[in-house]
Amino acid sequence: MIELVSYGAFFLTLALTFAIMCLGLNVQWGQTGLFNVGVAGFVGIGAYVSALVTTPDLPERLGGFGWPIAVGWLAAALAGAVAAALLGALTIRLRADYLAIATFGFAVVVQLCVLNLQSVTGGPFGISFIPRPFGALAGDPLIFGLLNLAVVAAVTLGVYAALEHLTRSPWGRVLRAIREDEQAATALGKNAISFRLQAFAMGGAIMGLAGAVQGHFIGYISPEAYVPILTFQVWAMLIVGGSGNNRGAILGAIVVWAFWAASGALIAAIVPPEEQARASALKIVMIGLAICLVLLLRPRGLLGELKTVSRHVDDGKDAKT
């Protein structure tokens, strides 16, 4: 029983780190229509920045600085925002398909830099001994797992609450207007480039934060964690959960991650050991299948976009009826 709860906490914590990434992608794609297929790049930047900021000083690579975890997370969010703002300043004017190519290229460049800048990132060996929240309690897996779940859940909830607030604000309304018809929004005085850049940077910040939270939870990061398959997973989560809906982003992350973990367990159980490395590719097939099924049966995702209106509009409606 205790093992089950421990595993549940571990699973949910990891799923919620993906949920944060998914919330970031929802700002960019769901709200604003920015086709970012470089999610892994921003997540990786966040994970590495936070690891460098918080790990103890090491002679063989840059840093670490041994600062508190919270500082690392803030630095990760800032780095994600700066990276997105710089990339966006160059590419945000591009049409959707070209933006996709540019962001994909960016993520590949980030991954190759991380792999090869050994004096900064540890290269292929990655960075280990990243401080974990409540690391002193790691001897008791149950308490440790539950406390970590609480922290990650609190971060997820905070990001969710802030994004919900913005989604229902005039800022969120302008983002949707630009997504729906950029020329009409421009005629109404909205500087589309500026708003798209803001949304892109905000999404980058959230992805960077998610990368840091995940890195600190696992305690170890390496370049192969930030390959395009991560981007694919986060996209699958958003599509399954419901693009444009913050709750859908979180639900989609949990559902798809459960699917991913379950198919991994299934493959481990039924495939002979010598074939398992190859069979693990089936997990990707399963996710593809899940996307197809959701798109066929619930084209708008498990939770579709809400008919979002300002809080105050609802006040008015109640008053009238």
């Binding site: 800022w171 949707r176 009409a184 005085g189 976009e305 509009v313």
Partner: protein, 255 residues
């Protein structure tokens, strides 16, 4: 400043095609000006230059006395110029009232930080904007559709919705691009009525329209464009009787 729009020498080419060639147009304050011409005359291209969507190759545009020749399209509404589109461009998945609220200007909450740091001001602005939006929707008889997504509106209602969005910004001049096209006669009468009402309240209007009956009922003055150039101008009656205009529209010499 008697002119809300004073544009002179405007030219724009697409590749080898001169869509607008050395065109000048003035809109007086409070005037209802018609812009007519056969298809391909360059009317909408001229509109798009006035609205900042296209940058003119040459020429000068003054809006309420301010040089807007190099200005961005998104800065136009702040200068007092609003426009509608020939084919309506609603935000289809947003509700009707949200569409209209998007037209509100100078909203503090269109910056990220204000939403967290100036909650009181944001709420007050939003409530004021909602009251205003409801008033405009009432004026345009769209209030019963307020909470419907804009994609369910009919073609004519979409034209009204575009007008409602623009009215949120209190423009001093509105460019109307074929508001009558594809609108059923009953609704058309209502649109004409409301547009005339706006003009009577002091909004200057530049209207592109093929429906000559509507032009004759609304416009004080009509400018005729042909082949990207200025042809003539005058009262609707004088222009309609002008042999050169008839020739341009029908391609035959007037009898």
């Amino acid at each position: 400043m008697p002119h809300v729009i004073a544009a002179s020498g405007l030219s724009l080419s697409f590749g080898g095609v001169k869509a607008v060639d050395d065109m000048s147009i003035q809109l007086r304050r409070g005037e209802f000006l018609g812009l007519i011409g056969p298809n391909g005359a360059g009317k909408t291209t001229l509109f798009n230059m006035l609205a900042g969507t296209y940058k003119a190759d040459a020429g000068c545009i003054l809006i309420n006395g301010v040089d807007a020749s190099r200005g961005r399209a998104s800065a136009r509404i702040g200068m007092g110029l609003g426009r509608t589109f020939q084919i309506p461009r609603p935000f289809p998945h947003m509700t009707v009232i949200e569409n209209v609220l998007t037209g509100a200007q100078n909203q503090a909450a269109e910056t990220i930080l204000a939403n967290f740091l100036r909650i009181g001001k944001v709420a007050a602005q939003e409530r004021a904007a909602i009251d205003k939006a409801k008033g405009i929707l009432n004026f345009l008889k769209l209030d019963h559709l307020m909470h419907e997504p804009a994609r369910v509106l009919s073609g004519g209602q979409r034209k009204l919705l575009e007008l409602a969005r623009v009215l949120m910004a209190d423009p001093s001049v509105i460019l109307l691009d074929e508001p009558a096209a594809g609108v059923n006669p009953a609704l058309l009468g209502f649109i004409i009525d409301r547009v005339r009402d706006l003009n009577a309240r002091g909004t200057s209007i530049l209207l592109i329209e093929h429906n000559m009956d509507m032009v004759a009922r609304l416009c004080h003055r009509v400018v005729v464009m042909v082949g990207g150039r200025y042809l003539t101008e005058g009262s609707p009656q004088a222009v309609a009787a002008n042999p050169a205009v008839i020739h341009a529209y029908l391609g035959v010499a007037a009898q």
